[in-house]
């Protein structure tokens, strides 16, 4: 019998702590797959952020630096400048990247740091119990927007992939989702593409991944998965917003 599907070498053979139906495990796998594809596991330094994904080092078999909340792009900048031969990526949630770390992501992107940023957007703060995030949809109820996000008072959700695509230092910016086999294959392709930009020294690359958080959305894994297509994609369109090779 032939084995046609196996664990990427860059992932450890361990169980994750993620909730049932959470997409972090899926995104971890796609990232590990891309590391394997380019054969860079042995020279990769991952930068973990604060949130559910802080345990990156527990699942990836790579060297990891843990960053303070929102600061992963600054930490990754220091790593890449000190070791330009290394392959550096950050893995950040929406509260981390689009709220407390807004300055760090914008300026690392604008400097064109030769790093890759994986941005997991699930429209909520997962680790702290489902509070309103900068990406929470208008009307979405969270533990700190119990009446629903109010556009007049809370503003509109931020579209990071489009926003970063405006910056001169960004070589690649895309948004993908992992809610269906079709989207998953596309996500795999675009994450590889982002990593290829770094592998070829072409500058800052960014992939936003629309993901679910069933626990904090108060939904079953299946209902949460369905919400991505029904509510998130209409506001956060999928696509490539910048590709320096193909402007």
């Amino acid at each position: 019998m032939q084995q046609v599907f196996k664990r990427p070498q860059s992932l450890k053979d361990v169980q994750t702590h993620f909730c049932p139906g959470c997409h972090h495990g899926t995104v971890h796998r796609l990232v590990a797959d891309a590391l394997d594809h380019f054969g860079v596991q042995e020279r990769t330094i991952g930068v973990a952020s604060v949130g559910c994904s802080v345990f990156l080092y527990g699942y990836f078999d790579i060297d990891v630096v843990e960053a303070p909340h929102g600061r992963a792009p600054a930490v990754a900048t220091g790593v890449k400048r000190a070791k330009p031969e290394s392959f550096v990526f950050t893995y950040q949630g929406d509260g981390d990247l689009a709220a407390i770390g807004t300055a760090e992501i914008i300026h690392a992107a604008n400097r064109g740091e030769d790093i890759t940023v994986i941005f997991v957007n699930n429209t909520t703060y997962g680790m702290t119990g489902g509070q309103m995030a900068p990406t929470t949809l208008v009307g979405q109820k969270t533990s700190t927007s119990p009446y629903g996000r109010n556009k007049a008072k809370d503003g509109s959700p931020i579209r990071m992939a489009e926003l970063l695509a405006q910056l001169g230092g960004v070589a690649f910016s895309a948004r993908v989702a992992v809610d269906s086999p079709k989207h998953l294959m596309e996500a795999k392709k675009q994450i590889r593409e982002a990593f290829r930009f770094q592998a070829e020294g072409k500058g800052f690359s960014f992939v936003e991944v629309l993901s679910s958080c069933p626990t904090n959305w108060g939904a079953s894994p299946l209902a949460a998965n369905a919400r991505i297509a029904e509510e998130m994609i209409p506001y956060f369109p999928l696509g490539v917003f910048k590709n320096e090779e193909n402007p």
């Binding site: 973990a48 630096v65 000190a82 760090e104």
Partner: protein
């Protein structure tokens, strides 16, 4: 003989960093320390180093964290309000046991305060500064020469103890120009950086982190850090004494104040008063034993600071109950820097008052 240069204290610190092998600097402009990033933005590219003017103080300290995690010597510098912003990163570095040098050419506060020479950040520097109950070594230069020498020393301490180290000066020391002999670095035996991330290359995974969630893990980590601080207290205290052997009044001051007090003490000696000067060079670890001895001999200590009383607490904790402690403070601000004559008057007052 080494050549002599005529440079600013800030430039001397930047030169000391380069001599110490630092090739990575991350900073943000703030008065009165901007000569440091300006100097390094010019010199580091020539040495194949990296200079980044960061988007914020917060980003700068985190770039330092990232570079340091790779095992290279790296530095940032700022002034008081900027150092407040860096406290998050300093705490993470202390927790993750990352070396790094932070220069604070401090200014007056609270808040935006002013740019005048100040020693108001003593507590913030020596008592941890950020969250989580850590300590970092703090060095207080009083000359351009020490800005250079102690910066080099700071890098060694950082590597030996795997800790951020702060150099605490102010505009008097940073902006003053005087002669500098740029001695070459004394090479000390330094530990291997077997903890640094490098891309695992087929070896064991390395992780630089400050999160410890396992049962008892964080408690053990805190005791481990505490034990390190105890070793620093035993081995790394630095202080300087001047005319203390027969003194019946000991003046205690650090940094810029110690420099002014030095002249005031000379004036007192000229006037026949038996006054000496004790200058802590390391503020953490605080030179308790040396101070206790000198203060025990004199019986009286007069602490002088550019604030309303901070180091005086550590002085009280260091000296025995039989030693009288006086305090003279000048909270910082324009026109508040005391002259040697003013300090001499204060010395005279306490000298005679207490002798009654």
């Amino acid at each position: 003989m080494s050549k002599r240069l005529f440079v600013k204290g800030n430039e001397a610190a930047a030169m000391g960093a380069i001599e110490a092998g630092c090739r990575y600097y991350f900073g943000y402009p703030i008065t009165p320390q901007s000569d440091i990033p300006e100097y390094l933005s010019r010199e580091l590219p020539k040495l194949s180093g990296e200079f980044i003017q960061a988007e914020s103080e917060v980003a700068a300290i985190n770039m330092l964290l990232g570079a340091s995690a790779c095992g290279v010597r790296a530095m940032t510098s700022s002034s008081s309000p900027g150092i407040s912003l860096k406290q998050e990163g300093i705490s993470y570095m202390a927790g993750a046991e990352l070396p790094g040098v932070i220069i604070n050419i401090s200014r007056s506060g609270p808040g935006l305060g002013g740019i005048d020479a100040s020693q108001s950040d003593y507590f913030q520097s020596v008592k941890g500064g950020g969250h989580g109950g850590y300590r970092i070594p703090v060095l207080a230069p009083n000359s351009v020469q020490e800005m250079y020498d102690l910066t080099m020393h700071a890098f060694d301490l950082a590597d030996i103890y795997r800790t951020p180290v702060m150099l605490l000066g102010d505009s008097v020391i940073g902006q003053m120009k005087e002669a500098l002999v740029p001695n070459t670095r004394t090479v000390r035996e330094l530990p291997e950086k077997g903890w640094a991330v490098r891309g695992k290359g087929g070896a064991e995974q390395r992780v630089v982190k400050s999160l410890f969630l396992g049962d008892g893990e964080l408690e053990a980590h805190n005791w481990h850090l505490h034990a390190k601080y105890q070793v620093m207290k035993e081995k790394e205290c630095l202080s300087e004494e001047h005319e203390t052997s027969d003194a019946t009044l000991l003046v205690a001051a650090f940094g810029s104040t110690a420099r002014i007090a030095h002249t005031a003490v000379a004036m007192a000696r000229e006037a026949g008063l038996k006054v000496g000067l004790f200058r802590p060079v390391t503020l953490f670890p605080f030179p308790e034993q040396a101070l206790s001895k000198a203060a025990g001999r004199a019986g009286r200590v007069l602490v002088m600071e550019l604030n309303t009383g901070q180091m005086v607490d550590d002085v009280r904790l260091s000296v025995g109950a039989g030693v009288q402690v006086f305090f003279y403070g000048r909270p910082p601000g324009a026109g508040s820097l005391p002259s040697p004559e003013e300090l001499f008057e204060v010395i005279k007052k306490h000298y005679h008052q207490a002798a009654q």
